[in-house]
């Protein structure tokens, strides 16, 4: 009953491709068969409603069918991908996983019962509501991963409204709210998911050319990597209509460069959180970081200190391993500092990442954007370091382009500071610049942040 709207849609589009996986197409008729096979399998295993089931998998016909069959079976689903496999035992413990289902790269399945009961109050609440659930872990780049638990019935509601069908690459991972959103959006509108083996620029761009992909939901970091690698010169990307970006602040310089290269591709910013789902958003234009966020089921407000708060009908019940983050009147404090212009907002950065230089605020994203304007800078991360004199100072960790790596560092620093001086106030210019040859992004193609020194 929870996935009836999807099943109806699949039945109407039996011949259409639902997924392209391992270079093979899987049509909606096949997906329906697989869903039924999984439903039989789960009923043979006597899987009870409210059982916490971890799925360790990547996108594939089998993992998608299993996810839908588990929703129908009212399971509480914990998706897990290779990128966080080192945290698997922690995640099993926190989520109180009872059954572990693994689907490997060849689509082979293993099923393992690992615990009898799950008794967290939020899990019991979902059982009482007789609804399926979803547990998502935050990336936890700056601390422990928090487990957000959702009522899936509520989360599915917004996908019932028909929208445009796209051929889309599920770039964001299977265990990420953005990935879950791409998956459900695409299936609910009988679009097609083009699954990529990895997320290297060449692999992704080749898949766009080969399978006429129209929509790429991705991260600013990936867009920056595509620009750097210049791989886009090798492929025909004319099918690509829309690129959406979210998960972290977009450097304005990256946005401008991408748009100059691909003026026909619409660039849209998305806004979402593993705690609330993805909001509907509308960018002012392809080169603008201003956007409207909200849509049915979401209300927004901005606090006196400019932090975005959201009230969502589909918001999570709470965390399994942290106190409720909701305000007394039920709003979620995002921790994102925003600027407002009429109906539009612009995210300046995480409140916790803002650097305070003698009482003046510095937003890392703004400085990173200026650093990335230099063609010899491949990646830049800006962070604060404690300073006894003025609280914090601005520091930058920079990865240079390969051809610059051997140049005199002192001369490069002077060039960087000179460039910053023309674009920034003196307190915003990185006082310390370090060079590092390592890439700065995580398995989720999100910039990895150095812990701020704090005040």
């Amino acid at each position: 009953m929870f996935i009836d709207f999807l099943i109806e849609q699949f039945n109407r589009h039996k011949d259409k491709d639902a997924l392209v996986w391992n270079e093979q197409s899987c049509c909606y008729a096949t997906l329906l068969i697989k869903i039924n096979e999984w439903r039989e399998f789960l009923s043979k295993k006597d899987l009870q409603p409210g059982t916490v089931v971890m799925i360790q998998a990547d996108y594939s016909p089998n993992s998608v069918a299993l996810l839908l069959a588990l929703i129908e079976a009212k399971a509480i689903i914990v998706p897990l991908t290779e990128s966080v496999v080192h945290k698997k035992s922690e995640f099993i413990e926190v989520s109180q996983t009872q059954v572990l289902i693994e689907i490997d790269g060849q689509d082979a399945v293993s099923y393992q019962v690992i615990a009898d009961t799950a008794d967290h109050e939020h899990i019991i609440c979902l059982k009482q509501r007789q609804v399926p659930g979803l547990i998502l872990f935050s990336s936890g780049s700056t601390g422990k991963s928090k487990a957000a638990i959702h009522d899936l019935k509520k989360l599915l509601e917004k996908f019932k409204l028909p929208r445009h069908a796209f051929r889309s690459i599920p770039f964001l991972l299977y265990d990420h709210i953005g990935g879950f959103n791409t998956l459900l959006y695409t299936l609910a509108n009988a679009g097609c998911l083009v699954v990529v083996a990895d997320r290297k620029p060449d692999t992704v761009l080749q898949a766009i050319e080969q399978h006429a992909v129209e929509l790429l939901p991705t991260s600013p970091t990936f867009i920056n990597l595509v620009l750097l690698s210049e791989s886009y010169q090798k492929y025909d990307l004319s099918s690509l209509k829309t690129v959406t970006y979210g998960t972290e602040p977009m450097p304005e310089s990256t946005l401008t460069r991408f748009h100059a290269l691909f003026p026909q591709i619409k660039l849209l910013q998305t806004y979402g959180l593993s705690e609330l789902g993805i909001l509907r958003s509308k960018s002012e234009s392809s080169t603008s970081l201003w956007m409207k966020v909200g849509g049915e089921g979401f209300q927004t407000r901005i606090t006196d200190d400019n932090i975005l708060q959201i009230k969502a009908d589909s918001g999570m019940l709470g965390y399994l391993n942290a106190a409720s983050p909701y305000t007394e009147d039920g709003w979620f404090h995002t921790g994102d500092l925003v600027e407002q212009k009429g109906d539009y907002i612009r995210v300046l950065g995480r409140q916790s990442e803002i650097i305070n230089v003698g009482g003046l605020k510095v937003y890392p994203a703004e400085i990173e954007s200026v650093l990335l304007q230099l063609n010899f800078v491949a990646e830049a991360e800006v962070y604060g370091e404690k300073n006894a004199l003025i609280g914090q100072v601005v520091c930058a960790r920079i990865r240079l382009n390969e051809q610059m790596a051997m140049e005199d560092k002192k001369a490069i620093k002077t060039k960087i500071k000179q460039h910053c001086k023309n674009a920034l106030e003196s307190y915003q210019i990185p006082a310390k610049i370090k060079f590092d040859e390592h890439s700065q992004f995580s398995a989720r193609f999100k910039k990895q942040r150095t812990l701020s020194g704090g005040l």
């Binding site: 003698g358 006894a388 004199l389 100072v393 500071k417 000179q418 003196s426 310390k432």
Partner: protein, 97 residues
């Protein structure tokens, strides 16, 4: 062991680098150049940059790791950051201790 002259040279070299980025209000290179206070050409951000520059150069050239703007320096009755000379004296003493 690092000499007073070596430390003064480090400070001057950092001042040179800072002046390269300044169009006006160039910082004088002299022992009596004030680093703080009304007569100083440096604002607080400049001072921090000067001290961080000195730290960096001490590390690069002499392999000396020393946080110049530390709590102790800030709590001294007579600030070591008054002039190039007082900063030199403070650093020479602290590092050679």
């Amino acid at each position: 062991m690092i000499t007073e002259q070596q430390i003064t040279d480090v400070i001057y070299s950092v001042i040179d680098q800072m002046n390269e980025l300044r169009d006006q209000n160039l910082i004088d290179k002299g022992l009596q150049t004030p680093l703080i206070g009304q007569r100083s050409q440096l604002d607080s951000v400049d001072l921090v940059n000067l001290l961080l520059g000195v730290e960096e150069q001490l590390e690069d050239e002499f392999d000396i790791s020393f946080v110049v703007a530390n709590e102790k320096a800030l709590s001294l009755k007579n600030s070591p950051f008054r002039t190039v000379k007082t900063l030199t004296d403070y650093l020479t003493d602290s590092i050679n201790q």
